[in-house]
């Protein structure tokens, strides 16, 4: 990330540092100059005033201010009753595409994409995983071939949330099959309205379909929508994926926030369900949840004083384990009621709520927590190799041309 995105210094490095009072003054000026009745017009004005994401550079929705000052702007605007950009409807765009565009996009790309991304006028999805490339994403086989100044893309992507509503996608594709797997990949912005894009719902174990399969047949992408250099897509994708892990494991929670709060409430409300065995397991889970909360809090305190720790991967691991343990405990606690399930009807939710619906849904949805955004096995490898410095497993796939790898 750039220093700007870490929030440690103003973008230009020339002007004086932005303060909380500066942010409040800008919020007041924005509210004085623009009514909030027209939601889109107001959000555009907020972006132009640098109050969208204050740690972004000036002109791109930010002020080059420390990231922590965003909370000041959000609180002031919420207090004034101003509309927000409904961030949970565009998590991929805000959490993953935007930081990647900021770091690797050209000025033209940043000017074209960031404003409607932030206002929610254009939502985004992510075309990364493939049926044959999950944890081993660098094995991906979707091909992109350049002819003149246009790429033609053919292949299949999977686990794409929001593909049925997204305007744009971030896409990684194989552009040089003769290069080793990590070096022949290029990163693109893909137009989801291209006639060669076909989106099919992917029904999951909960009965609904949050995700999609996306078939790409002769999809045309102008070279101007390439992000980073041709062949450098793996490095660009790392920025996207690091932000995904922060987004999944990094929310601040109060004590008993998250899945433990749901289970504890059921325990308190339903004394007739209690057994000694479940009591012991609930207390174990409560301690684990409180310690995970403190670990996350400690990570945030380290970030706030500029000492980012490697606990990000750890938080996602702990979050997945807890969510699975506690949601399973709740189904068991409910006993006979736990034999039922709310509704298997295939629906298309517009956002994901890990804590929503009924206990059976939460139990099943939590199974995805240790798979999506990096499996727990891959995260353990990351901790072991990057934090503890243990040697990698010997590999045979890194230095040979991608096209010669067995598939």
């Amino acid at each position: 990330m750039t220093t700007t995105a870490k929030g440690t210094a103003p973008a230009g490095g020339t002007g004086p540092a932005v303060t909380a009072e500066d942010v409040r003054r800008r919020v007041r000026a924005l509210l004085d100059a623009h009514g909030t009745a027209d939601r889109t017009a107001f959000l555009r004005a907020r972006f132009d005033a640098g109050l969208a994401w204050v740690h972004f550079p000036e002109g791109l929705g930010g002020l080059g201010a420390p990231r922590g000052l965003q909370a000041v702007a959000d609180a002031e605007l919420a207090a004034a009753g101003a509309p927000d950009n409904n961030p949970r409807a565009n998590g991929i765009g805000l959490g993953m595409a935007a930081p990647t565009l900021l770091r690797f996009g050209t000025p033209e790309q940043q000017a074209r994409f960031l404003r409607p991304l932030w206002t929610g006028e254009e939502t985004w999805c992510q075309l990364f995983s493939e049926p044959g490339a999950g944890s081993d994403l660098a094995a991906l086989g979707t091909r992109a071939v350049l002819d003149g100044d246009t790429w033609t893309v053919d292949g299949q992507k999977v686990w794409t949330s929001g593909a049925h509503t997204a305007r744009w996608a971030i896409l990684v594709a194989r552009t040089d099959p003769d290069a080793p797997k990590h070096r022949g990949i290029t990163y693109f912005v893909c137009d989801m309205t291209d006639p060669g894009v076909e989106v099919r719902p992917l029904r999951q174990i909960t009965g609904e379909a949050e995700f999609n399969e996306v078939f790409l047949t002769g999809v045309r992408i102008p070279d101007a929508h390439r992000i980073g250099e041709a062949g450098d897509g793996w490095r660009v994708a790392q920025t996207t994926l690091n932000n995904e892990r922060v987004a999944i494991g990094g929310q601040r929670t109060p004590r008993e926030g998250g899945m433990i709060g749901t289970v504890a409430a059921t325990w308190r409300d339903r004394p007739e369900l209690r057994t000694h065995d479940l009591h012991q397991r609930l207390l174990h889970g409560w301690v684990e949840a409180e310690v995970a909360r403190l670990t996350g809090e400690r990570l945030r305190q380290q970030l706030a004083v500029g000492q980012p720790g490697p606990e990000g991967a750890a938080m996602k691991l702990a979050f997945a384990r807890l969510a699975q343990h506690l949601s399973g405990l709740e189904v068991e606690l409910l006993g006979e009621e736990g034999l039922g399930y709310g509704d298997w009807t295939m629906v298309r939710p517009d956002h994901v709520d890990f804590l929503g619906r009924d206990a059976g849904y939460r139990y099943l949805r939590a199974k995805g927590n240790s798979i999506e955004g990096g499996t727990s096995e891959i995260l353990r490898n990351i901790i072991a190799e990057r934090v503890l410095g243990l040697p990698a497993e010997p590999r045979t796939d890194k230095d040979v041309p991608w096209k010669e790898l067995p598939r």
């Binding site: 209690r274 207390l283 310690v291 096995e377 410095g389 243990l390």
Partner: protein, 378 residues
């Protein structure tokens, strides 16, 4: 609920560096091992350097009582380092348990100043397994010392930590007008201190037998129960920091070994089945650090939810240290099973610490009340 400060201040990091340097110099694992079976389980010169020269004994004692006027946060940092070194010192018994009890008694100022200066050491005469929150005298544990009208003590206390090294024993006893806390000189007539063979080679235990022992009452019924409870709660909360230090040593030592040790033509640490276990240990150590800091900070602030923070830390860190020590032995293979390798010092300390000041199960039971998660009735 105030958000706890879970980081280490610069002052705390400086203190850590000083203690760590002292311990690296004066008590490397081989020295600890050599001393473990000798006649003097504690290293008097090391204690002198730690308590007097570094001023660690008086960290939590206010300056007007001869201490450093720091807080329990700094005291916790010392315990982390003592855990990391499995150091044989009476710090927990004297500078934590006895000192905390004295701080809560109006009558112990002179002794407090001596302890803070490292001139004398004391031990709180309670069984090491006693948990906070269980009342006075401790439910389920033998505590049968009585004081007669003249203040002479008679009775027994089993498995007291750091008693053999203490110059003074602080004895909770039932007096004619209720519970009291009494000071007994180690050389007093009628006192027998019988060392036990302890599981933890680096924290010896002793059984106390008192027969009409002359004693000085430091606190009566108004102060003594709260003083002892405060000492047990503080001891339990800060023990989590020692457990963190143990877990960190075990993780670091095992990781270093597995980078070097080769089998099947590869470093053993490159096998995924092994590295995933180390990743899990690292995750637990990160949790233990947050929990231990949370407890130390809550105790230092006198936070209302300090008993909850202590119970969480003990319920988590006790098991985390044991798991780290057990994995340390297992992942070292044969060498981990030898007397020569220091892994067993940490395993023994971790297992004893798991029982000390309340087992994880006892602390979880306390949370049933503290966190309003009631047990089934009937």
């Amino acid at each position: 609920m105030t958000t706890p400060d879970l980081l280490y201040s610069e002052v705390e990091e400086d203190l850590r560096a000083s203690v760590r340097a002292l311990l690296a110099d004066r008590c490397p694992p081989a020295a600890v091992l050599a001393r473990a079976e000798g006649p003097a389980p504690y290293d008097g010169k090391l204690w002198h350097a730690l308590a007097r020269e570094l001023g660690a004994a008086g960290l939590q004692v206010p300056e007007e009582h001869g201490g450093a006027g720091a807080t329990l946060r700094e005291t916790a940092v010392v315990l982390e380092e003592l855990g990391r070194a499995a150091a044989p010192t009476p710090f927990l018994g004297s500078a934590v348990l006895a000192t905390t009890a004295l701080l809560a008694c109006a009558g112990g100022a002179e002794l407090l100043a001596e302890l803070a200066a490292g001139e004398r050491t004391a031990a709180l005469a309670v069984p090491l397994a006693a948990a906070p929150g269980t009342g006075f005298p401790w439910a389920g544990l033998p505590q049968t010392v009585r004081a007669d009208g003249a203040g002479a003590l008679t009775g027994r206390v089993a498995a007291v930590a750091d008693a053999a090294a203490a110059d003074v024993l602080l004895v909770p006893a039932a007096g004619p007008d209720g519970p009291g806390l009494y000071a007994v000189e180690a050389d007093a007539a009628g006192l027998a201190v019988a060392p036990r063979t302890s599981l933890d080679l680096t924290r010896p235990l002793a059984d106390l037998a008192l027969h009409g022992v002359p004693a000085r009452r430091l606190a009566g019924p108004a102060e003594a129960p709260a003083a002892v409870e405060r000492a047990l709660l503080t001891g339990a909360g800060l023990l989590a920091s020692e457990q963190l230090g143990i877990a960190e040593w075990c993780l670091a030592t095992t990781t270093a070994y597995l980078k070097e040790r080769r089998q099947f033509g590869r470093p053993v640490g490159s096998f995924q089945a092994v590295k995933h276990r180390l990743a899990d240990l690292w995750l637990e150590a990160a949790g233990a650090r947050a929990a231990a800091r949370g407890a130390a900070d809550a105790l230092a602030r006198g936070a209302e939810d300090a008993p909850l923070a202590v119970a969480v830390a003990q319920a988590y860190c006790g098991d985390a240290a044991v798991r780290a020590a057990e994995e340390c032995v297992q992942l070292h293979g044969g060498i981990g099973m030898t007397w020569e390798h220091p892994a067993h010092l940490y395993l023994k300390r971790a297992k004893a610490d798991q029982i000390a000041l309340g087992t994880p199960g006892r602390h979880r039971a306390a949370l049933a009340v503290l966190a309003d998660l009631p047990a089934p009735t009937g």
